[in-house]
């Protein structure tokens, strides 16, 4: 498996709602702006698992998903609607390090993947 170095994804304005719908993650910080702000967040935030899913997509592209052996991430900063995410990966044999940052250069996720 050969992973590409870089890719970019624009987070749609309604992405947290779509991901809530498909994942049943209806935690109010993802769908209710007032609630999110009352809890100290700048806006509703994207589900971490959605960012992780987009990271998996960056890594696998059209390859076979069973090649992924382990995948771990740390969520570093919230992802907001309309953010633009930059995915950067570096492969060393069967180990891939991946980092995701937003349009302001703030890192939102750091992760490691091992492939079979």
């Amino acid at each position: 498996m050969k992973v590409k170095d870089k890719s970019k994804v624009k987070i749609g304005k309604y992405m947290p709602y779509y991901y809530a719908g498909v994942s049943l993650d209806y935690n109010l910080i993802h769908i209710d702006r007032e609630f999110a702000q009352a809890n100290g967040l700048p806006d509703i935030i994207l589900q971490g698992m959605c960012t992780m899913g987009l990271t998996a997509k960056h890594i696998i592209e059209n390859d076979h998903p069973s090649k992924i052996k382990t995948f771990k991430v740390r969520f570093l900063n919230p992802v907001l609607p309309a953010d633009e995410l930059n995915f950067k990966s570096h492969q060393n044999d069967n180990e891939i390090n991946v980092e995701v940052s937003n349009q302001n250069g703030n890192k939102v996720l750091r992760g490691q993947v091992t492939v079979r």
Binding site: V9, M15, Y18, Y19, G21, V22, S23, L24, D25, N27, L28, I29, F35, N39, G40, Q47, G48, M49, C50, M52, G53, L54, A56, K57, I60, E61, N62, D63, H64, P65, S66, I68, K69, T70, F71, K72, V73, R74, F75, P78
Partner: protein
Amino acid sequence: MSTDNIIGKKYEADYEISFEKIKEFAEVLGDKNPHYIDREFVKSIDGGHPFAPPTFAAIYCQPALKNLYLDSEFSKLVSRLVHGEQEYSFGEPVRSGDLIHTTAEVVENFNKTNRSGKVHQIIEIMTTSTNQNNKLVCTATYRLIIRGE
């Protein structure tokens, strides 16, 4: 905190993998990998059913986690919960038509002071998922942060 006794809490649930749900999930992520969405393509590889993306584990683990979140001691924390870290280890591939059984257990619960002196509660949940043939498909660790009030 009133949630000291959540360690060892354990819940389980089944989830049946459907092709339609895999397609919906891939569509939300804008993922066009044919292993997920093209039944004929997958049939041409090994005659089997479409595959689930790795983070589809969040979907099949959800019913067991939901049972945990609905627990009276846990439900108090959910509004202050953010996801800190997530770790997966994958075994047998998960495919449409599979019946996945997941056990979710609270394995860690401790307080941590961050750089600005605020005390957060850290909870770790481990899930173990097996398929209808009793083969391990995924183990996961969810590290959740309950932000200090």
